[in-house]
């Protein structure tokens, strides 16, 4: 007999509602993925970097920006801008204060002559959907970043880290344009409860990972950080708050170079 029978009943109802929601979501994402596969080329073409306006990207009414695709959408090989090298699945989406909307995609590199030098294995690609311009108004042509394999992170299995500068680091006539925001992104094991960035300066940023898909191993994270935090590392924590791995150091311009 429970001490608080009401709570037991509430939790039973809550579990039933969650199960029903998960069932509906599974049916919905299948239908969405099928429909979105047809629309995906048109959507990505209209959000291409060449059509983006310089200046304050948030002020424009006329900007041609389409939000991220629903999580679970599969972008077929050859579709999208740039054309995807293999089927690519949207695994997480979100927004950050400066970069705005982003979309994270997972795919596999099966090797082959079209991608010389790119490690085989699982790939992760981050797209900033409406990249903000530099402070002098010059548009940033690069909206994407990605990597394949687990190069360099063999001691942290299931955990990877990459960085995307927004806008991209640029040197023009002796002037250095530092990014305003660095998106640190990657994959974490499914048992991760938090992903944490810590810096010597005492800064600590904790986020909950985005839950991945059934068909793709791991969960995912995208953390916006300011450049020049000092010596900084990223790690994941388990449900008890215990460190999940030895951690991975962040790179310039997050760390001071």
């Amino acid at each position: 007999v429970s001490l608080i029978p009401d709570l037991e009943a509430q939790l039973r109802d809550g579990a039933a509602r969650r199960r029903e929601r998960a069932r509906r979501r599974a049916i919905g994402s299948f239908a969405t993925a099928a429909g979105a596969a047809v629309l995906v080329s048109a959507l990505l073409l209209t959000s291409g970097a060449g059509e983006r306006r310089a200046g304050d990207h948030r002020a424009g009414e006329e900007r041609r920006f389409h939000g991220p695709l629903p999580v679970g959408t599969v972008i077929p090989k050859g579709d999208g801008t740039p054309p995807r090298e293999s089927d690519s699945t949207v695994v997480a989406t979100g927004t950050t204060p400066f970069a705005g909307a982003w979309q994270l995609e997972a795919s596999r590199n099966f090797g082959g002559r079209s991608r010389p030098g790119v490690p085989r294995g699982r790939c992760l690609a981050l797209t900033v959907l409406d990249p903000p311009a530099y402070e002098d108004g010059t548009p940033d042509p690069s909206g994407g970043s990605g990597f394949c394999g687990a190069v360099g992170f063999r001691k942290t299995p299931g955990f990877s880290r990459a960085q995307k500068n927004v806008p991209t680091l640029r040197k023009d006539r002796g002037r250095l344009f530092l990014p305003k925001e660095v998106l640190v992104y990657g994959r974490v094991p499914e048992r991760a409860g938090k992903v944490v960035v810590t810096a010597d300066s005492g800064i600590r940023i904790e986020v909950e990972p985005h839950e991945g898909l059934k068909s793709i191993r791991g969960d995912f994270f995208v953390i916006p950080v300011k450049p020049r935090l000092g010596h900084a590392r990223i790690n994941w924590l388990d449900a008890d708050g215990g460190r999940g791995s030895r951690g991975i150091a962040l790179e310039p311009p997050v760390t001071k170079s």
Binding site: E8, D13, G193, E211
Partner: protein, 184 residues
């Protein structure tokens, strides 16, 4: 295993089945409510607050079930980890965290004096039972659950490996749970 006899189902199995069977989570709650409520009432000293924190902990556990994977530690350690986070978050915000309950649309708990008395009665029960554990397990459970220390630190102090500490905590918690079942 008889589907309706949840007493014979392990914690790991209960959590696995809870994704599809609401009764499995209700059984998990029923099995561990005393452990969690006792954990809170000892820390906050107020039965009503302990009940709210307990409700939030189990709601957060329910939400985290898709992430739950079998690990070296028993599910009770996972549950107490959520309880510790709930308490820390509530202290930081100066109010009892209710985010997980809101997501599940759980109404506010209506607690009778009798229920509150029973929760207050848990204050000390687990500590008393702790005294009945073999010394090594008692030391490990106290360090991990009561003092909330890291496994690494405990292993250093007890001069043994982390794996040994985890095993002692696991056995100790299982024994405590059995004893609490008996005192129901």
């Amino acid at each position: 295993v008889d589907d309706t006899d949840w007493r014979r189902v392990s914690d790991d199995e209960l959590l696995r089945r809870a994704r599809r069977e609401p009764d499995a989570f209700a059984a998990f709650y029923s099995r561990h409510e005393r452990l969690v409520l006792g954990f809170f009432v000892r820390r906050v000293g107020d039965a009503e607050v302990a009940a709210d924190l307990g409700a939030e902990t189990f709601a957060a556990a329910l939400a985290a079930i898709p992430r739950f994977r079998r690990r070296r530690e028993p599910p009770t350690a996972w549950l107490l980890g959520i309880a510790r986070n709930t308490l820390a978050m509530s202290r930081r915000r100066g109010r009892v965290e209710a985010r997980a309950r809101r997501r599940l649309r759980m109404p506010r708990l209506d607690l009778t004096d009798e229920v509150l008395e029973r929760i207050e009665g848990l204050n000390g029960t687990a500590l008393e039972l702790l005294g009945g554990l073999p010394p090594r397990e008692r030391e490990a459970v106290k360090a991990r659950v009561v003092d909330e220390r890291d496994y690494t630190e405990i292993a250093r102090d007890l001069r043994c490996s982390e794996a040994v500490v985890r095993k002692r905590v696991s056995r100790g918690l299982a024994a405590l749970r059995d004893q609490m079942e008996e005192t129901k």
